[in-house]
Protein backbone atom coordinates (compact mmCIF):
# COMPACT_ATOMS: atom_id res chain seq x y z
CA UNK A 1 0.00 0.00 0.00
CA UNK A 2 1.07 3.59 -0.50
CA UNK A 3 3.25 4.93 2.31
CA UNK A 4 1.93 5.52 5.78
CA UNK A 5 -1.68 6.68 5.65
CA UNK A 6 -2.84 9.32 8.05
CA UNK A 7 -5.99 8.34 9.83
CA UNK A 8 -8.90 10.72 9.45
CA UNK A 9 -10.40 12.46 12.43
CA UNK A 10 -14.18 12.31 12.47
CA UNK A 11 -15.96 15.04 14.39
CA UNK A 12 -19.68 14.91 15.00
CA UNK A 13 -21.58 18.00 16.00
CA UNK A 14 -25.12 17.88 17.31
CA UNK A 15 -26.06 15.17 14.80
CA UNK A 16 -29.68 14.10 14.42
CA UNK A 17 -30.79 11.48 11.90
CA UNK A 18 -34.49 10.71 11.63
CA UNK A 19 -36.68 8.22 9.83
CA UNK A 20 -40.07 9.79 9.12
CA UNK A 21 -39.14 12.55 11.57
CA UNK A 22 -38.60 10.06 14.43
CA UNK A 23 -34.96 10.43 15.42
CA UNK A 24 -32.82 7.28 15.34
CA UNK A 25 -29.96 9.45 16.55
CA UNK A 26 -30.76 12.43 18.69
CA UNK A 27 -28.28 15.30 19.09
CA UNK A 28 -25.10 13.23 19.04
CA UNK A 29 -21.77 14.93 19.49
CA UNK A 30 -18.19 13.81 19.88
CA UNK A 31 -14.98 12.95 18.12
CA UNK A 32 -13.29 9.84 16.76
CA UNK A 33 -9.60 10.70 17.06
CA UNK A 34 -7.32 10.19 14.09
CA UNK A 35 -5.97 6.64 14.17
CA UNK A 36 -8.41 5.46 16.82
CA UNK A 37 -10.02 2.04 16.89
CA UNK A 38 -13.56 2.38 18.22
CA UNK A 39 -16.36 -0.11 18.76
CA UNK A 40 -19.93 1.13 18.67
CA UNK A 41 -22.16 -0.96 20.92
CA UNK A 42 -25.71 -0.66 22.11
CA UNK A 43 -29.05 -2.47 22.01
CA UNK A 44 -30.97 -3.07 18.79
CA UNK A 45 -32.54 0.14 17.58
CA UNK A 46 -29.90 2.26 19.29
CA UNK A 47 -28.88 3.90 16.02
CA UNK A 48 -25.53 2.16 15.55
CA UNK A 49 -25.95 1.41 11.87
CA UNK A 50 -27.57 4.78 11.36
CA UNK A 51 -24.49 6.51 12.76
CA UNK A 52 -22.15 4.45 10.55
CA UNK A 53 -24.26 5.21 7.48
CA UNK A 54 -24.33 8.92 8.30
CA UNK A 55 -20.53 8.94 8.65
CA UNK A 56 -20.21 6.98 5.40
CA UNK A 57 -22.36 9.62 3.75
CA UNK A 58 -25.13 7.29 2.56
CA UNK A 59 -27.70 8.75 4.97
CA UNK A 60 -28.36 12.45 5.12
CA UNK A 61 -28.57 13.97 8.62
CA UNK A 62 -31.73 15.85 9.59
CA UNK A 63 -29.57 18.20 11.61
CA UNK A 64 -26.00 18.76 12.74
CA UNK A 65 -22.71 18.14 10.98
CA UNK A 66 -20.08 15.50 10.40
CA UNK A 67 -16.48 16.54 9.69
CA UNK A 68 -14.47 13.76 8.09
CA UNK A 69 -11.04 15.40 7.95
CA UNK A 70 -8.82 13.76 5.35
CA UNK A 71 -11.49 11.20 4.45
CA UNK A 72 -13.08 13.01 1.53
CA UNK A 73 -15.48 11.46 -0.97
CA UNK A 74 -14.08 8.17 -2.24
CA UNK A 75 -11.65 7.93 0.68
CA UNK A 76 -13.94 6.05 3.03
CA UNK A 77 -13.97 2.28 3.09
CA UNK A 78 -17.45 1.22 4.21
CA UNK A 79 -18.61 -2.33 4.79
CA UNK A 80 -22.40 -2.34 5.24
CA UNK A 81 -24.18 -4.79 7.52
CA UNK A 82 -26.44 -6.46 5.01
CA UNK A 83 -24.84 -5.44 1.81
CA UNK A 84 -27.03 -5.22 -1.24
CA UNK A 85 -24.50 -7.42 -2.97
CA UNK A 86 -25.95 -9.85 -5.45
CA UNK A 87 -24.19 -13.03 -4.34
CA UNK A 88 -25.20 -14.95 -7.45
CA UNK A 89 -23.78 -12.30 -9.78
CA UNK A 90 -21.47 -13.71 -12.47
CA UNK A 91 -18.21 -12.10 -11.37
CA UNK A 92 -14.90 -13.56 -10.25
CA UNK A 93 -13.27 -13.14 -6.86
CA UNK A 94 -10.38 -11.21 -8.40
CA UNK A 95 -12.67 -8.73 -10.20
CA UNK A 96 -14.60 -8.17 -6.98
CA UNK A 97 -11.43 -7.38 -5.06
CA UNK A 98 -10.12 -5.15 -7.88
CA UNK A 99 -13.13 -2.89 -7.37
CA UNK A 100 -11.25 -1.71 -4.29
CA UNK A 101 -9.08 0.25 -6.73
CA UNK A 102 -12.14 2.17 -7.93
CA UNK A 103 -10.80 5.54 -6.81
CA UNK A 104 -7.86 5.08 -9.19
CA UNK A 105 -9.42 3.05 -12.04
CA UNK A 106 -12.92 4.52 -12.06
CA UNK A 107 -14.94 4.08 -15.24
CA UNK A 108 -12.21 3.75 -17.77
CA UNK A 109 -8.67 3.14 -16.52
CA UNK A 110 -7.18 -0.30 -16.91
CA UNK A 111 -5.73 -2.17 -13.98
CA UNK A 112 -1.94 -1.96 -13.91
CA UNK A 113 0.14 -5.06 -13.15
CA UNK A 114 1.01 -3.52 -9.76
CA UNK A 115 -2.67 -3.06 -8.95
CA UNK A 116 -3.41 -6.64 -9.97
CA UNK A 117 -0.52 -7.83 -7.81
CA UNK A 118 -1.87 -5.81 -4.89
CA UNK A 119 -5.23 -7.55 -5.30
CA UNK A 120 -3.58 -10.97 -5.32
CA UNK A 121 -1.59 -10.02 -2.23
CA UNK A 122 -4.75 -8.81 -0.48
CA UNK A 123 -6.45 -12.12 -1.25
CA UNK A 124 -3.47 -13.97 0.20
CA UNK A 125 -3.63 -11.74 3.27
CA UNK A 126 -7.24 -12.74 3.94
CA UNK A 127 -6.36 -16.41 3.46
CA UNK A 128 -7.84 -16.81 -0.01
CA UNK A 129 -4.71 -17.32 -2.11
CA UNK A 130 -5.51 -19.07 -5.43
CA UNK A 131 -9.19 -18.13 -5.24
CA UNK A 132 -8.77 -15.43 -7.93
CA UNK A 133 -10.72 -17.12 -10.70
CA UNK A 134 -13.51 -18.59 -8.61
CA UNK A 135 -16.97 -17.12 -9.25
CA UNK A 136 -18.21 -15.47 -6.07
CA UNK A 137 -21.40 -17.55 -6.23
CA UNK A 138 -19.35 -20.58 -5.16
CA UNK A 139 -18.05 -19.01 -1.92
CA UNK A 140 -19.32 -19.64 1.57
CA UNK A 141 -20.49 -16.72 3.69
CA UNK A 142 -17.19 -16.65 5.57
CA UNK A 143 -15.11 -16.76 2.38
CA UNK A 144 -17.21 -14.01 0.90
CA UNK A 145 -16.67 -11.79 3.93
CA UNK A 146 -12.93 -12.41 3.49
CA UNK A 147 -13.25 -11.22 -0.12
CA UNK A 148 -14.93 -8.03 1.05
CA UNK A 149 -12.11 -7.49 3.55
CA UNK A 150 -9.59 -7.94 0.75
CA UNK A 151 -11.44 -5.21 -1.15
CA UNK A 152 -11.26 -2.99 1.96
CA UNK A 153 -7.47 -3.54 2.01
CA UNK A 154 -7.21 -2.30 -1.58
CA UNK A 155 -9.34 0.75 -0.85
CA UNK A 156 -6.45 1.91 1.30
CA UNK A 157 -8.67 4.45 3.05
CA UNK A 158 -7.83 6.68 6.04
CA UNK A 159 -11.25 5.89 7.49
CA UNK A 160 -12.72 2.38 7.67
CA UNK A 161 -16.32 1.78 8.72
CA UNK A 162 -17.47 -1.75 9.55
CA UNK A 163 -21.10 -2.52 10.35
CA UNK A 164 -21.32 -5.83 12.24
CA UNK A 165 -18.48 -7.34 10.22
CA UNK A 166 -18.27 -10.61 12.15
CA UNK A 167 -21.93 -11.55 12.45
CA UNK A 168 -22.56 -15.17 11.40
CA UNK A 169 -18.86 -15.97 10.97
CA UNK A 170 -17.08 -18.87 12.63
CA UNK A 171 -14.37 -18.35 15.26
CA UNK A 172 -11.45 -18.85 12.91
CA UNK A 173 -12.70 -16.42 10.26
CA UNK A 174 -13.49 -13.86 12.96
CA UNK A 175 -10.03 -14.31 14.43
CA UNK A 176 -8.33 -13.81 11.04
CA UNK A 177 -10.38 -10.74 10.16
CA UNK A 178 -9.87 -9.20 13.61
CA UNK A 179 -6.16 -9.61 12.99
CA UNK A 180 -6.55 -7.53 9.81
CA UNK A 181 -8.42 -4.86 11.74
CA UNK A 182 -5.58 -4.68 14.25
CA UNK A 183 -3.11 -4.34 11.36
CA UNK A 184 -5.07 -1.39 9.98
CA UNK A 185 -5.03 0.13 13.45
CA UNK A 186 -1.23 -0.22 13.61
CA UNK A 187 -0.99 1.45 10.20
CA UNK A 188 -2.67 4.48 11.73
CA UNK A 189 -6.06 4.31 10.04
CA UNK A 190 -9.20 5.40 11.86
CA UNK A 191 -11.54 2.44 12.31
CA UNK A 192 -15.12 2.45 13.57
CA UNK A 193 -16.95 -0.85 13.94
CA UNK A 194 -20.44 -1.76 15.11
CA UNK A 195 -20.21 -4.87 17.26
CA UNK A 196 -22.39 -7.02 19.50
CA UNK A 197 -19.85 -9.30 21.16
CA UNK A 198 -18.78 -7.52 24.35
CA UNK A 199 -15.85 -9.89 24.99
CA UNK A 200 -14.54 -9.13 21.52
CA UNK A 201 -14.86 -5.40 22.19
CA UNK A 202 -13.04 -5.65 25.52
CA UNK A 203 -10.26 -7.72 23.97
CA UNK A 204 -9.59 -5.84 20.75
CA UNK A 205 -11.07 -2.32 20.78
CA UNK A 206 -9.39 0.37 22.89
CA UNK A 207 -12.26 2.87 22.48
CA UNK A 208 -15.98 2.28 22.81
CA UNK A 209 -19.04 4.37 22.04
CA UNK A 210 -22.13 3.15 23.86
CA UNK A 211 -25.15 4.35 21.99
CA UNK A 212 -28.87 4.38 22.71
CA UNK A 213 -30.19 7.01 20.32
CA UNK A 214 -27.99 9.34 22.35
CA UNK A 215 -24.44 8.95 23.59
CA UNK A 216 -24.60 6.97 26.83
CA UNK A 217 -20.85 6.75 27.28
CA UNK A 218 -17.86 7.32 25.01
CA UNK A 219 -14.24 6.73 25.90
CA UNK A 220 -11.76 4.00 26.88
CA UNK A 221 -13.46 0.62 26.68
CA UNK A 222 -13.06 -0.49 30.33
CA UNK A 223 -14.81 2.65 31.59
CA UNK A 224 -17.60 2.55 29.04
CA UNK A 225 -18.40 -1.14 29.44
CA UNK A 226 -19.42 -0.80 33.04
CA UNK A 227 -22.61 -2.42 34.22
CA UNK A 228 -24.19 0.92 35.05
CA UNK A 229 -23.97 2.44 31.60
CA UNK A 230 -25.03 -0.79 29.85
CA UNK A 231 -28.19 -0.83 31.91
CA UNK A 232 -28.81 2.82 31.11
CA UNK A 233 -28.47 2.04 27.39
CA UNK A 234 -31.06 -0.73 27.56
CA UNK A 235 -33.46 1.72 29.10
CA UNK A 236 -33.04 4.51 26.59
CA UNK A 237 -33.33 2.68 23.29
CA UNK A 238 -37.04 1.94 23.33
CA UNK A 239 -38.60 5.26 22.53
CA UNK A 240 -40.66 5.40 19.32
CA UNK A 241 -43.66 7.47 20.31
CA UNK A 242 -46.25 7.89 17.53
CA UNK A 243 -47.38 11.20 18.99
CA UNK A 244 -43.99 12.62 19.92
CA UNK A 245 -43.77 16.40 19.90
CA UNK A 246 -41.34 18.24 17.69
CA UNK A 247 -37.98 18.31 19.43
CA UNK A 248 -37.21 21.65 21.06
CA UNK A 249 -33.46 21.18 21.56
CA UNK A 250 -31.64 23.91 19.69
CA UNK A 251 -29.94 22.89 16.44
CA UNK A 252 -26.23 23.60 16.09
CA UNK A 253 -25.31 27.24 15.93
CA UNK A 254 -23.42 26.61 12.68
Amino acid sequence: MSGVPIGAQVTIENLTVAYERHPALHHIGGCFAAGSLTAIVGPNGAGKSTLIKAIAGVLRPSGGRIERGSAGPGHIAYLPQQSEIERSFPISVLDTVLLGHWRRIGWRHGVTPQEAAAATAALAAVGLGHFEDRPISTLSAGQFQRVLFARLILQDAPLILLDEPFTALDARTTHDLLHLVENWHREGRTIIAVLHDFDQVRAHFPQTLLLAREVVAWGPTPEVMSAVSLAAARHMAEAWDEDAHACAVAEAMS
Binding site: G74, S83, E84
Partner: protein, 290 residues
Protein backbone atom coordinates in the same frame (compact mmCIF):
# COMPACT_ATOMS: atom_id res chain seq x y z
CA UNK B 1 -24.87 -27.48 -52.38
CA UNK B 2 -28.61 -27.78 -52.09
CA UNK B 3 -28.56 -27.07 -48.38
CA UNK B 4 -26.39 -24.05 -49.01
CA UNK B 5 -28.85 -22.73 -51.59
CA UNK B 6 -31.66 -23.41 -49.23
CA UNK B 7 -30.01 -21.39 -46.49
CA UNK B 8 -29.07 -18.29 -48.43
CA UNK B 9 -31.17 -18.29 -51.60
CA UNK B 10 -34.12 -16.29 -50.14
CA UNK B 11 -31.75 -13.53 -49.11
CA UNK B 12 -30.04 -13.41 -52.51
CA UNK B 13 -33.26 -13.43 -54.43
CA UNK B 14 -35.34 -10.92 -52.49
CA UNK B 15 -34.34 -7.43 -51.39
CA UNK B 16 -36.95 -7.35 -48.65
CA UNK B 17 -35.50 -10.53 -47.12
CA UNK B 18 -32.02 -9.02 -47.22
CA UNK B 19 -33.17 -5.85 -45.51
CA UNK B 20 -35.10 -7.87 -42.95
CA UNK B 21 -31.99 -9.94 -42.21
CA UNK B 22 -29.77 -6.88 -41.80
CA UNK B 23 -32.42 -5.32 -39.59
CA UNK B 24 -32.71 -8.43 -37.43
CA UNK B 25 -28.95 -8.68 -37.01
CA UNK B 26 -28.59 -5.00 -36.10
CA UNK B 27 -31.45 -5.40 -33.66
CA UNK B 28 -29.91 -8.50 -32.13
CA UNK B 29 -26.53 -6.83 -31.63
CA UNK B 30 -28.10 -4.10 -29.50
CA UNK B 31 -30.89 -6.04 -27.81
CA UNK B 32 -28.76 -9.01 -26.74
CA UNK B 33 -26.43 -7.12 -24.38
CA UNK B 34 -29.24 -4.88 -23.13
CA UNK B 35 -31.26 -7.98 -22.29
CA UNK B 36 -28.31 -9.40 -20.40
CA UNK B 37 -28.23 -6.38 -18.14
CA UNK B 38 -32.01 -6.49 -17.70
CA UNK B 39 -31.72 -10.10 -16.52
CA UNK B 40 -28.79 -9.30 -14.21
CA UNK B 41 -30.71 -6.40 -12.70
CA UNK B 42 -33.78 -8.60 -12.22
CA UNK B 43 -35.68 -6.23 -14.44
CA UNK B 44 -36.92 -8.77 -16.99
CA UNK B 45 -40.54 -7.85 -16.51
CA UNK B 46 -39.67 -4.19 -16.60
CA UNK B 47 -38.52 -4.59 -20.17
CA UNK B 48 -41.97 -5.97 -20.90
CA UNK B 49 -43.60 -3.04 -19.13
CA UNK B 50 -41.52 -0.56 -21.09
CA UNK B 51 -42.45 -2.19 -24.36
CA UNK B 52 -46.11 -1.58 -23.59
CA UNK B 53 -45.37 1.95 -22.47
CA UNK B 54 -44.03 2.78 -25.93
CA UNK B 55 -47.44 2.15 -27.52
CA UNK B 56 -49.33 5.43 -26.95
CA UNK B 57 -46.37 7.43 -28.20
CA UNK B 58 -46.18 5.36 -31.33
CA UNK B 59 -49.95 5.71 -31.69
CA UNK B 60 -49.86 9.48 -31.35
CA UNK B 61 -47.01 9.58 -33.84
CA UNK B 62 -49.12 7.42 -36.13
CA UNK B 63 -52.07 9.84 -35.81
CA UNK B 64 -49.95 12.85 -36.63
CA UNK B 65 -47.70 11.44 -39.31
CA UNK B 66 -49.55 8.38 -40.57
CA UNK B 67 -47.46 5.25 -40.99
CA UNK B 68 -44.30 7.32 -40.78
CA UNK B 69 -41.17 5.99 -39.20
CA UNK B 70 -39.76 9.18 -37.66
CA UNK B 71 -43.09 10.24 -36.16
CA UNK B 72 -43.83 6.86 -34.62
CA UNK B 73 -40.29 6.32 -33.38
CA UNK B 74 -40.07 9.73 -31.81
CA UNK B 75 -43.48 9.28 -30.21
CA UNK B 76 -42.51 5.88 -28.86
CA UNK B 77 -39.23 7.18 -27.53
CA UNK B 78 -40.87 10.09 -25.75
CA UNK B 79 -43.62 7.91 -24.26
CA UNK B 80 -41.12 5.31 -23.04
CA UNK B 81 -38.87 7.91 -21.45
CA UNK B 82 -41.80 9.68 -19.80
CA UNK B 83 -42.99 6.43 -18.23
CA UNK B 84 -39.45 5.60 -17.08
CA UNK B 85 -39.02 9.09 -15.65
CA UNK B 86 -42.38 9.20 -13.86
CA UNK B 87 -41.93 5.76 -12.31
CA UNK B 88 -38.40 6.72 -11.33
CA UNK B 89 -39.70 9.81 -9.57
CA UNK B 90 -42.44 7.87 -7.75
CA UNK B 91 -39.90 5.22 -6.70
CA UNK B 92 -37.53 7.82 -5.30
CA UNK B 93 -40.12 9.92 -3.49
CA UNK B 94 -42.46 7.26 -2.12
CA UNK B 95 -42.04 3.82 -0.53
CA UNK B 96 -43.66 2.20 -3.62
CA UNK B 97 -41.20 -0.27 -5.15
CA UNK B 98 -39.93 0.20 -8.67
CA UNK B 99 -41.79 -2.77 -10.15
CA UNK B 100 -45.11 -1.54 -8.79
CA UNK B 101 -44.67 2.02 -9.97
CA UNK B 102 -43.58 0.79 -13.40
CA UNK B 103 -46.61 -1.47 -13.63
CA UNK B 104 -48.92 1.42 -12.75
CA UNK B 105 -47.52 3.74 -15.38
CA UNK B 106 -47.21 1.22 -18.17
CA UNK B 107 -50.81 0.07 -17.69
CA UNK B 108 -52.01 3.66 -17.90
CA UNK B 109 -49.82 4.16 -20.92
CA UNK B 110 -50.99 0.98 -22.62
CA UNK B 111 -54.68 1.78 -22.09
CA UNK B 112 -54.08 5.26 -23.46
CA UNK B 113 -52.36 3.79 -26.50
CA UNK B 114 -55.14 1.31 -27.27
CA UNK B 115 -57.70 4.08 -26.74
CA UNK B 116 -55.98 6.36 -29.21
CA UNK B 117 -55.51 3.71 -31.87
CA UNK B 118 -59.00 2.28 -31.62
CA UNK B 119 -60.81 5.60 -31.69
CA UNK B 120 -58.71 7.15 -34.44
CA UNK B 121 -57.45 4.29 -36.55
CA UNK B 122 -58.60 0.94 -37.79
CA UNK B 123 -57.85 -2.34 -36.06
CA UNK B 124 -55.44 -3.15 -38.83
CA UNK B 125 -53.34 -0.18 -37.74
CA UNK B 126 -53.40 -1.41 -34.18
CA UNK B 127 -52.21 -4.82 -35.29
CA UNK B 128 -49.46 -3.14 -37.24
CA UNK B 129 -48.19 -1.24 -34.21
CA UNK B 130 -48.58 -4.24 -31.93
CA UNK B 131 -46.96 -6.82 -34.17
CA UNK B 132 -44.74 -4.90 -36.60
CA UNK B 133 -43.64 -6.03 -40.03
CA UNK B 134 -39.97 -6.76 -40.44
CA UNK B 135 -40.50 -7.67 -44.09
CA UNK B 136 -41.65 -4.11 -44.77
CA UNK B 137 -38.52 -2.56 -43.25
CA UNK B 138 -37.19 0.07 -45.64
CA UNK B 139 -33.86 1.83 -45.83
CA UNK B 140 -34.62 4.70 -43.42
CA UNK B 141 -35.89 2.15 -40.89
CA UNK B 142 -32.72 0.12 -41.35
CA UNK B 143 -30.63 3.21 -40.77
CA UNK B 144 -32.54 3.95 -37.60
CA UNK B 145 -32.13 0.43 -36.25
CA UNK B 146 -28.45 0.36 -37.15
CA UNK B 147 -27.84 3.76 -35.55
CA UNK B 148 -29.57 2.71 -32.36
CA UNK B 149 -27.58 -0.49 -32.06
CA UNK B 150 -24.36 1.44 -32.72
CA UNK B 151 -25.20 3.99 -30.03
CA UNK B 152 -26.17 1.17 -27.68
CA UNK B 153 -22.92 -0.74 -28.10
CA UNK B 154 -20.77 2.38 -27.74
CA UNK B 155 -22.67 3.52 -24.65
CA UNK B 156 -22.45 0.06 -23.09
CA UNK B 157 -18.72 -0.04 -23.75
CA UNK B 158 -18.18 3.37 -22.12
CA UNK B 159 -20.39 2.76 -19.08
CA UNK B 160 -19.67 -0.97 -18.77
CA UNK B 161 -17.87 -0.88 -15.44
CA UNK B 162 -20.27 1.31 -13.45
CA UNK B 163 -23.18 -0.53 -15.05
CA UNK B 164 -21.85 -3.89 -13.89
CA UNK B 165 -21.06 -2.48 -10.46
CA UNK B 166 -24.50 -0.96 -10.17
CA UNK B 167 -26.03 -4.40 -10.73
CA UNK B 168 -23.58 -6.23 -8.52
CA UNK B 169 -23.05 -3.95 -5.55
CA UNK B 170 -24.92 -0.63 -5.71
CA UNK B 171 -24.01 0.15 -2.10
CA UNK B 172 -20.32 0.09 -2.96
CA UNK B 173 -20.85 2.36 -5.96
CA UNK B 174 -22.57 4.87 -3.66
CA UNK B 175 -19.90 4.60 -0.98
CA UNK B 176 -17.14 5.46 -3.46
CA UNK B 177 -19.03 8.60 -4.36
CA UNK B 178 -20.63 7.69 -7.68
CA UNK B 179 -24.40 7.96 -7.62
CA UNK B 180 -26.20 5.11 -9.33
CA UNK B 181 -29.03 7.40 -10.47
CA UNK B 182 -27.29 8.65 -13.60
CA UNK B 183 -26.23 5.15 -14.64
CA UNK B 184 -29.75 3.86 -14.08
CA UNK B 185 -31.20 6.66 -16.21
CA UNK B 186 -28.69 5.98 -18.99
CA UNK B 187 -29.58 2.31 -18.94
CA UNK B 188 -33.33 2.94 -19.07
CA UNK B 189 -32.79 5.27 -22.01
CA UNK B 190 -30.92 2.51 -23.84
CA UNK B 191 -33.73 0.07 -23.09
CA UNK B 192 -36.32 2.45 -24.53
CA UNK B 193 -34.16 3.18 -27.59
CA UNK B 194 -33.83 -0.52 -28.36
CA UNK B 195 -37.53 -1.11 -27.90
CA UNK B 196 -38.21 1.70 -30.35
CA UNK B 197 -35.79 0.06 -32.79
CA UNK B 198 -37.54 -3.24 -32.21
CA UNK B 199 -41.13 -2.19 -32.65
CA UNK B 200 -40.63 -1.31 -36.33
CA UNK B 201 -39.69 -4.85 -37.02
CA UNK B 202 -41.42 -6.90 -34.38
CA UNK B 203 -44.09 -4.62 -32.96
CA UNK B 204 -44.26 -3.22 -29.44
CA UNK B 205 -45.48 -6.50 -27.99
CA UNK B 206 -42.65 -8.66 -29.26
CA UNK B 207 -39.72 -6.26 -29.40
CA UNK B 208 -38.85 -7.20 -25.86
CA UNK B 209 -38.76 -10.88 -26.88
CA UNK B 210 -35.52 -10.39 -28.73
CA UNK B 211 -34.06 -8.86 -25.54
CA UNK B 212 -35.22 -11.29 -22.91
CA UNK B 213 -35.22 -14.71 -24.58
CA UNK B 214 -31.59 -14.72 -25.83
CA UNK B 215 -30.40 -13.15 -22.58
CA UNK B 216 -32.22 -15.72 -20.47
CA UNK B 217 -30.87 -18.51 -22.71
CA UNK B 218 -27.29 -17.22 -22.45
CA UNK B 219 -27.49 -17.69 -18.68
CA UNK B 220 -27.17 -21.44 -19.29
CA UNK B 221 -23.98 -21.18 -21.33
CA UNK B 222 -21.71 -18.57 -19.73
CA UNK B 223 -20.80 -17.10 -16.39
CA UNK B 224 -19.10 -13.79 -17.03
CA UNK B 225 -20.96 -10.63 -17.90
CA UNK B 226 -19.10 -10.11 -21.17
CA UNK B 227 -19.60 -13.66 -22.39
CA UNK B 228 -23.26 -13.55 -21.38
CA UNK B 229 -23.69 -10.41 -23.46
CA UNK B 230 -21.80 -11.86 -26.43
CA UNK B 231 -23.74 -15.13 -26.45
CA UNK B 232 -26.98 -13.26 -25.99
CA UNK B 233 -26.23 -11.01 -28.99
CA UNK B 234 -25.21 -14.05 -31.05
CA UNK B 235 -28.39 -15.94 -30.18
CA UNK B 236 -30.52 -12.89 -30.97
CA UNK B 237 -28.93 -12.53 -34.43
CA UNK B 238 -29.25 -16.26 -35.07
CA UNK B 239 -32.91 -16.16 -34.03
CA UNK B 240 -33.44 -13.39 -36.56
CA UNK B 241 -31.83 -15.42 -39.35
CA UNK B 242 -33.49 -18.75 -38.56
CA UNK B 243 -36.81 -17.05 -37.88
CA UNK B 244 -36.75 -15.30 -41.24
CA UNK B 245 -35.92 -18.56 -43.02
CA UNK B 246 -38.79 -20.23 -41.20
CA UNK B 247 -41.20 -17.50 -42.11
CA UNK B 248 -40.09 -17.69 -45.76
CA UNK B 249 -40.40 -21.43 -46.24
CA UNK B 250 -43.36 -22.12 -43.98
CA UNK B 251 -45.16 -18.94 -44.97
CA UNK B 252 -45.44 -17.70 -41.38
CA UNK B 253 -45.61 -14.12 -40.15
CA UNK B 254 -42.01 -13.02 -39.61
CA UNK B 255 -42.24 -11.43 -36.13
CA UNK B 256 -43.69 -14.41 -34.27
CA UNK B 257 -41.43 -16.71 -36.27
CA UNK B 258 -38.33 -14.86 -35.02
CA UNK B 259 -39.49 -14.72 -31.43
CA UNK B 260 -40.54 -18.38 -31.46
CA UNK B 261 -37.10 -19.29 -32.76
CA UNK B 262 -35.57 -17.35 -29.86
CA UNK B 263 -38.00 -19.22 -27.60
CA UNK B 264 -36.82 -22.53 -29.03
CA UNK B 265 -33.19 -21.58 -28.32
CA UNK B 266 -34.23 -20.68 -24.80
CA UNK B 267 -35.97 -24.02 -24.27
CA UNK B 268 -32.97 -25.92 -25.64
CA UNK B 269 -30.67 -23.95 -23.33
CA UNK B 270 -32.81 -24.67 -20.28
CA UNK B 271 -32.73 -28.36 -21.12
CA UNK B 272 -29.20 -28.87 -22.42
CA UNK B 273 -27.12 -25.80 -21.51
CA UNK B 274 -23.62 -26.17 -20.11
CA UNK B 275 -24.35 -24.51 -16.77
CA UNK B 276 -27.17 -25.25 -14.34
CA UNK B 277 -29.41 -26.65 -17.06
CA UNK B 278 -31.85 -29.44 -16.32
CA UNK B 279 -29.51 -31.92 -18.01
CA UNK B 280 -26.51 -30.91 -15.89
CA UNK B 281 -28.63 -30.90 -12.78
CA UNK B 282 -30.21 -34.31 -13.15
CA UNK B 283 -27.66 -36.24 -15.15
CA UNK B 284 -25.21 -35.83 -12.35
CA UNK B 285 -21.61 -36.74 -12.93
CA UNK B 286 -19.65 -37.91 -9.92
CA UNK B 287 -18.66 -34.92 -7.86
CA UNK B 288 -15.01 -33.98 -7.60
CA UNK B 289 -12.80 -34.85 -4.66
CA UNK B 290 -12.34 -31.20 -3.55
Amino acid sequence: MILYDWLIQPFIEFGFMRRALVGAIALGLGCGPIGTFLVLRRMSLMGDAMSHAVLPGAAIGFLIGGLSLPAMSLGGLVAGLVVALLSGIVTRLTPLREDASFAAFYLISLALGVLIVSTHGSNVDLLHVLFGTILAVDNPALLLVASISTVTLVALALAYRPLVLECFDPGFLRSVGTGGGGIHALFLTLVVLNLVAGFQALGTLMAVGLMMLPAAAARFWAREVWSLAAISAGLACLSGYVGLLGSYYLDLPSGPSIILTAGAFYALSVLFGRRDSIRSRYLVRRHLAA
